[in-house]
Amino acid sequence: MRINPNPLPDLLAALGQTQQQINTDLQQISTGQSVNVPSDNPAAAAGLVQNAAQTSAADQFLRSIGSIQGEMQSADSTLNSVITALQRAITLGVEGANGTLSDSDRAAIANEVTGVRSQLINLANLSYQGNFVFAGTAIQTTPYVLDVTSPSGVRYAGNNLANTVTVGNHFSLQTNLPGSQLFTASGSDMFQALQDLLTNLQSGDSAGIGGAVAEVSNAYNYIDTARVFYGNAMNQLDSQQTYLNSETAQLAQQQNTLGGVDLPAAMTNLTTGQTSYQATLAAMGRVGQTNLFDYLK
C-alpha cells in the first residue's frame, strides 16, 4: 500500500488537540474547577446547581437563626426578670399578710407592689429592634397599658397569634409566645393577681392578702413553666445550627467532588501535554527535510 507522503496535516491536527488539552488543563488549574461550562460534565453541572442552592439555603437558615436567637435571648432574660419581680411581689404579700402591721406599713408595701407592677408592665412591653416581643403579631402595638376600666387595672392590646419561621428543610419553629399566653393567660393572669394583692393590702384584709399571694404564686409558676418554650426553642436552634454547619461542610465537600479539580492529576496532564506538544513540534521540524532530490547529483 502506498504511504501518505505528507504527514504534516496529521501532525498539525495532533498539535491542535494537544494544545486544546493544555488549554483545558490550564483553565482547570487556574480556576480550581473541573466543570467550567455545563458540557464539561453535564451531570456534575446539574449537581452543582443543586449543591449551590442547598448551600445557599443552609447559609440563609444560619442567618435566620442568628436573627431569631437575638430576640429569643432577649425574651428569655426578660422573663427571668419577670420571675424575680414576681418573687419580690410574693415576699411583699407575705409581709403584708402579717396582722401586726399598721395601716401605714401596709400602704408602704402596697406602694412597693405598685412599683413592682410598673416594672412588670415595662418588662412585658419588651421591644426588640423596635418591635414588641410579647404582643403576638401586633408587634407595633404596646401590648400592656394601664387601664382603670379593666378588672386587673391593665389591658392587653396585643393579639394571640404566633409566627413560625422555616430554619431548615421541612423544619420550622414557632418564634414567639404572645403575652396572652404568658402574663395574662386566663386563670393565671399576673396583673389580676397583683391587682387583687393591692386591693387587699389597701383594705387590710389579711385573709384576702393570703389568697392574693396564692394567685401571684400561681402566676409565678405558670410563667416559670411557660418560659421553658424559649429555652427549648433556643436549644433547638442551637442543635439546628450545629446540623447546618456540618451540612454546609458536607455540601462544600460534595461541591469539590462534583466540580473541583484534581490538582495532581491536572498538573500531570499538563506536563504530559507539554511534553507531547514539544515532541510533536520536534517531529514536525523533521518532516520532509530530505527527499531523493537531495541525493541526485
Binding site: N4, D10, P42, L48, V49, Q129, Q140, N169, S172, N291
Partner: protein
C-alpha cells in the same frame, strides 16, 4: 517499412514519450503543495506494430494520456463526512456560546432564584422590617434581570445565527456557480477526448467546500455531474447552477428558498444544517424552558402575594378591606402564557416594599404569607419540579447537548482526518517517487538519444559507403 529511418522514428517516439512523462513529473513536483491536487501518472503504451512479412516490428512508444489518480468512492465518503463535520462544528460552537449564560457563578438564574428565596426567608424572621422588605425587592429585581439577560442573549444569538445562515447561503451560491462553470469546461475537454484532471481536482475541492456548508448529493452523469441537497433540491445540473435565496418570515428569521419553495426544514447537514438546528430547534427549546420556568415561578409567587396583607394591613387580593373589588397587588409582571417571552418580559411589579404581602392575617407582625412564599422554593411548581430542580434539569440538558455536539465534532474530525490520509496516500504527490520517476525518464531519454546517435553513425557509414564505391 523497416530500416534505419524506421528505427530513427521509433527512437524519436521514445524521446517524445519520455519528455511527456517528465512533464507529468514536473507538474506533480510543482503542485506538491496544491490543496486537492491529485498526482498525475503518464500512461505509456507501445505503438501499434507493423508487419513486414515475416517480421512483426515494433514502432516505439506513445504517451496515450496523463491520468490523475483518485478514488471516487473515497471522495464521496470525504464529502459526506465533511457535511457531518460542518453540521456538528456549527452546532457545537453555537451551544458553547449559549452555555456561558447557564454557567454557575454570580448572576446566573440558579443563584438568583436562591437569593430571592433567601431574602424571603430573612424577611420571615422580621416581617415588618422595611430594609428586609427592600432586600426582597432587590433580590426579585436581580432574579428578573437574570431571566431577562439569559433570554435576551438567546435572542441575540439567534439573530447572529440568522446572519450566519444568510452568509452561508451566499457562499453556497458562489460555490455552485463555480462548480457549474467547471462542469462546462470539463465536459468540453472530455467531449474531445482530453483529460480534464486539473479541472476535476478543482471541482472536487469546491464540492468539498460545498459539503462543509450544506448536505450535498453528487450524482455523476455523462462527462459531468449533478449536485442536489439531500432532499433532492437541485443545486447544479451540468453547466447550470440553481441559486438559493433567503427570505424573512413574519417572526424575523431567514428562511431558505430554492426555486420558490421553502427548504429550510429539509436542510439537516453541513454548516447550514448545524446553524439551522441551533437557531430553529436548540435555542427555541431552551427559550421555551426559560419561559416555562419564569412563568411558573412568577405565577406561584403572585398567587401567594395576592393571598395576604401588606405592611399596612390591607389585603393584596382582588377585594379590599371593605370587600370592594380592587386590582390585586401582584409581585411579578410578565407576558403570561400562551404569550411567549415570559423570561424576557419578567419584571417586579412592586416598587413600595410595604406592598409585599408578608402577613397572612392583616397583623403587622405576621409572617405567615412570607413563610408560604418561602415554601415555594421546595414546591413542585413547574412540570412537577421545584424551580431549582427544573433549572438544574435545564442546565443538564444544555450541557448534554453541547457535550454530544462536541463529541460528534471530534469524532467526525478524526474520521475526516483518516479519510484525508487515505486520499493523500492515493492521490498525494511523493517527492521521492517523483525523483525516482524523473531519474527513470531521464535515463530512458538518454538511452533513446544514444540510439539516435548510433543510428546516425550507421546512416553516416551507409552514406560514406556509397561515396567510396561511386
Amino acid at each position: 517499412m523497416s530500416g534505419l529511418n524506421a528505427s530513427l522514428a521509433t527512437a524519436l517516439s521514445g524521446l517524445t514519450a519520455e519528455q511527456g512523462a517528465l512533464q507529468a513529473t514536473t507538474n506533480n513536483v510543482a503542485n506538491v503543495n496544491t490543496p486537492g491536487y491529485s498526482r498525475e501518472v503518464p500512461d505509456l503504451v507501445s505503438s501499434d506494430p507493423i508487419v513486414v512479412d515475416p517480421l512483426t516490428l515494433g514502432t516505439g512508444v506513445t504517451l496515450k494520456s496523463i491520468d490523475s489518480i483518485r478514488d471516487p468512492i473515497l471522495e464521496s465518503r470525504i464529502q459526506q463526512e465533511t457535511q457531518t463535520q460542518g453540521q456538528s462544528s456549527a452546532l457545537a460552537s453555537a451551544l458553547s456560546q449559549t452555555q456561558v449564560n447557564f454557567t454557575s457563578g454570580t448572576g446566573d438564574i440558579g443563584t438568583a432564584i436562591s437569593n430571592f428565596f433567601n431574602s424571603v426567608n430573612q424577611l420571615s424572621t422580621s416581617p415588618a422590617d422595611l430594609s428586609l422588605r427592600q432586600g426582597v425587592l432587590t433580590a426579585a429585581g436581580n432574579l428578573a434581570s437574570s431571566f431577562n439577560v439569559a433570554a435576551n442573549n438567546l435572542t441575540a444569538q439567534r439573530s447572529s445565527l440568522d446572519g450566519s445562515v444568510e452568509q452561508a447561503v451566499g457562499q453556497i451560491n458562489q460555490l455552485t456557480t463555480q462548480i457549474a462553470q467547471l462542469n462546462g469546461q470539463i465536459a468540453n475537454l472530455q467531449n474531445v477526448g482530453q483529460s480534464a484532471g486539473t479541472f476535476v481536482d478543482q471541482r472536487t475541492q469546491l464540492i468539498d467546500q460545498l459539503s462543509a456548508l450544506v448536505d450535498v448529493s453528487v450524482i455523476p452523469t455523462d462527462n459531468t455531474l449533478t449536485l442536489t441537497t439531500a432532499n433532492g433540491t437541485p443545486l447544479v445540473a451540468g453547466h447550470q447552477s440553481f441559486q438559493l435565496s433567503t427570505q424573512l418570515d413574519p417572526s424575523g428569521t431567514q428562511h431558505i428558498f430554492a426555486q420558490g419553495s421553502d427548504i429550510t426544514s429539509a436542510l439537516v447537514s453541513g454548516q447550514l444544517g448545524g446553524l439551522l438546528q441551533a437557531r430553529d430547534q436548540q435555542l427555541p427549546a431552551l427559550q421555551t424552558q426559560l419561559d416555562t420556568l419564569a412563568a411558573g415561578l412568577a405565577t406561584a409567587v403572585n398567587t401567594v402575594q395576592t393571598g395576604g396583607y401588606d405592611l399596612n394591613g390591607n389585603p393584596t387580593g382582588a377585594t379590599d378591606s371593605k370587600g370592594n373589588p380592587q386590582t390585586p397587588v401582584t409581585f411579578f409582571k410578565f407576558d403570561a402564557p400562551p404569550a411567549t417571552g415570559a423570561a424576557a418580559s419578567l419584571s417586579v411589579a412592586i416598587t413600595d416594599p410595604a406592598k409585599i404581602a408578608a402577613s397572612s392575617d392583616g397583623t403587622v407582625g405576621s409572617n405567615g404569607n412570607a413563610e408560604a412564599m418561602y415554601g415555594l422554593s421546595n414546591r413542585a411548581l413547574i412540570q412537577g419540579q421545584s424551580p431549582t430542580d427544573y433549572y438544574s434539569g435545564l442546565v443538564f440538558n444544555l450541557g448534554n447537548d453541547a457535550a454530544s455536539a462536541n463529541a460528534e465534532q471530534s469524532a467526525s474530525s478524526l474520521v475526516l482526518q483518516q479519510l484525508n490520509d487515505q486520499r493523500s496516500s492515493i492521490s498525494g504527490v511523493s517527492l521521492d517517487q517523483e525523483a525516482a520517476n524523473m531519474v527513470q525518464y531521464q535515463n530512458a531519454y538518454a538511452a533513446s538519444a544514444q540510439v539516435i546517435t548510433a543510428i546516425n553513425d550507421m546512416m553516416y557509414a551507409a552514406i560514406n559507403m556509397t561515396t567510396l564505391t561511386g
